[in-house]
Amino acid sequence: MTEIERHSYDVVVIGAGGAGLRAAIEARLQGKKTAIISKSLFGKAHTVMAEGGAAAAMGNVNPNDNWQVHFRDTMRGGKFLNNWRMAELHAKEAPDRVWELEHWGALFDRTKDGKISQRNFGGHEYPRLAHVGDRTGLELIRTAQQKIVALQQEDHRDHGDYDARLKVWAETTVTRLLLDGDRISGVFAYVRETGKFVVFEAPAVVLATGGIGKAFKVTSNSWEYTGDGHALALLAGATLLNMEFVQFHPTGMVWPPSVKGILVTESVRGDRGILKNSDGKRFMFDYIPEVFKAQYATTEEEGDRWYDDPDNNRRPPELLPRDEVARAINSEVKANRGSPHGGVFLTVVDRMPGGAEEIKRRLPAMHHQFKELADVDITKEPMEVGPTCHYVMGGVEVDPDTGAALVPGLFAAGECSGGMHGSNRLGGNSLTDLLVFGRRAGLGAAEYVDALADRPAVSAEEVEAASAEALEPFDRTGGENPYTVHQELQQTMNDLVGIIRKEGELEQALQSLDKLRARVANVAVEGGRGYHPGWHLALDLRNMLLVSECIAKAALERQESRGGHTRDDHPAMSADWRKVNLVCRLVGDPADPRVELKRQPLEPMREDLITLFENDELKKYLTEEELPVSAAAEEKA
């Protein structure tokens, strides 16, 4: 075997999205020699897809907003399953993180008095989302990218080398975390361009790899979202938290095939958009659940009046919570009342008083998106939409303050970490999540490095094992095509562990995944190692399979419906289940490990935080014993 290049850093950040870049910036600001490893080019991360904005209680538009209100909204959105400490830190620190971006050159939309403008969004009590039109994610990535360049320019001035203390390894994929005993000692990676291996020796590693969407067939996520961070953490001995919570957005594009899954923003429905089936029927009226009957209109006339007069009318059922709408669309399609391409119709045609012009003015991005990608003019034709896998709330179990995972030296931030969003994420909270916890993980990693007595060493055997593992797909003859296996994995997850889950289907999914495990271990590729997409997919399959197993197991275990986890056979939310976190780890033979799932009690909320809520509200979520004393007393009285 040829010599493998080695590079030494203090902190290695895996992932170059918002969280990764923010973590790297912080580690470098703390004086640590830092590497960023990215599967894509620098600045291409999936964060660019975020449209709505970054939620931060700056109070620029409504001065009543503050961190306590934001905290409450976040906990409600997550159905009280959130790690409350994370929700607290997030709400408190988000404004500073946004202002910091502005100090690095970001240009947000402005209020009349020149402050950062904030917009309304689902689940947020006040206008709270700092935004730049509908491309806030791009602004965040570009700003962080340019801050990194600014730091590199500083290093160039001081050391004559841009990369002296902060280097971006673009198009490089990590396949293994390396351990010295139980501590992190580095990572093993390959450079996509050449296929050559490289070892990064580093005592601290920050995972910021994003989500898992590519395990599902229909997703708004890009190819990079193969659950790498989740799987790497598991393989290194860390744990994953509440993986059953996967957010499905009810309206993704279903056609053309190239953009299947791409989001159709919720504001289409907020702006008079209605859902129809192939019979032309506005079907949502048939799907108003008993508990919502009081708040939602029962006739089309009343629903239509709501847009102009929300005080005297009930809202139309198109605006039910995401999971309800997704479920309804699912049922219509299953009953063969779907649109030609397997979705339902979402239309704004003739719905706005100002006609086509108003549609273009209110929904410019959607108009553009459908025009360019689908050749559909939404002012004349309906859109075809269906549910799409959007975000995973579950992730690496971390310490809220430092982002530290259970493995010493391992940190995680952003979508690949768990806890912050509970069972359901509010729109707008993800971008500030990246910034708040990206920074904290970078800081945590730097402090960890400072406190180290000795640096862990990378052992030759581990490198050899990782290298052999990565080359296996080339050595196999007559193995399966990785694309075929991937498609089957996605189909399995979509069909059996999708939006609406049932015990039988989940068991079936676990059996299928069991069989897929053998097939993943048997995929083969041919050709050279330079920029070989088939090989890359073959290596990613291991990760997708691991997270899929975690999701399926946790989904089978949790016998209730909450946020991003809907069980057809257990449709209600249970206060007893709220006290439980489901935690995955790997056990058994390290060469062929198995996912093990454990229940773990949720830490009770701190006294001063719990009193931010009205007792009436707490009763909906907590068991009687959990209620604050006064509330429990009141209950008895």
Partner: protein
């Protein structure tokens, strides 16, 4: 609605390569990237192509389709007739890694040479900027860095030797963005002309023509920048004024 389309795709690495013919299924509603993926999955598993979001938002899948620089994910197959042969080649201005993937490091090197945003003495949270003041730079910040503008620009596309002294439309636009940023305290006019080659630009507008974000690069970034440079460097009255001490010259920011 599906048909068999004729494709010619450049295959090769390290410069050596050739256009390879394929016949491949095309279905209704597909884009060129879908067809490339179908080739990958069925006929050429090692066909290299760079892509990410598939929605025209990340700027990864830049290539040339029938000779025109485009994003593979934003070129609908319905824009071609079924009997047309569609030629897909890597972008020409940058060295090829393999097949359709090129080494775009030129762009990242140029990005590093442009002095970053300089907030002056303003502290975080203290910025007060008006919407009309941020809008010009906001247009440029829509850029998804697909580098199609730098690829199409004849200054470096047809003259490799100019690469050293020309940053390309993308980064001249970045200078414009910072110059128009209401809170930026630096002055990059001198380096725009002297270090980054604004004077090479002969405003033939190909950058604007290929921009998938429809940013008016030439009219809104490059020409205003040329005018600003002219005001500082080529205006005889300004020159006279500075000689007479009427016009005060600020501090020029050096390249980073």
């Amino acid at each position: 609605m599906s048909y068999e389309a004729k494709f010619r795709v450049w295959r090769g690495d390290a410069g050596e390569g050739e256009l390879t013919d394929y016949t491949v299924e095309v279905n209704e509603g597909e884009v060129v990237l879908d067809i490339i993926h179908r080739l990958q999955a069925t006929q050429a598993p090692d066909l290299a192509v760079r892509w990410n979001c598939k929605a025209g938002k990340c700027g990864s899948c830049s290539a040339e389709i029938n000779g025109m620089p485009r994003l593979l994910c934003m070129t609908r197959m319905s824009t071609f007739s079924p009997d047309e042969t569609i030629t897909v080649t890597p972008v020409r201005t940058f060295p090829v890694i393999r097949d359709l993937v090129t080494d775009v490091s030129f762009n990242y090197e140029k990005a590093r040479q442009i002095p970053s945003f300089d907030p002056g003495d303003t502290k975080p949270g203290e910025f007060r900027m008006m919407q009309q003041d941020v809008e010009r730079s906001q247009e440029f910040r829509k850029c998804i860095e697909c580098f199609l503008c730098n690829n199409v620009c004849h200054v470096i596309r047809d003259h490799e030797e100019n690469k050293e002294s020309f940053a390309g439309p993308r980064f001249l636009m970045r200078i414009s963005e910072l110059e128009m940023h209401p809170a930026d305290a630096a002055d990059r006019r001198k380096i725009a002309q002297e270090d980054h080659g604004l004077g090479f630009c002969n405003i033939t507008k190909c950058c604007t023509e290929v921009c998938p974000e429809h940013i008016k690069i030439t009219d809104n970034a490059l020409i205003p920048m040329k005018e600003r440079v002219a005001g500082q460097k080529y205006d005889p009255l300004v020159w006279l004024g500075s000689k007479l001490g009427i016009v005060k010259k600020g501090q020029d920011t050096p390249s980073a």
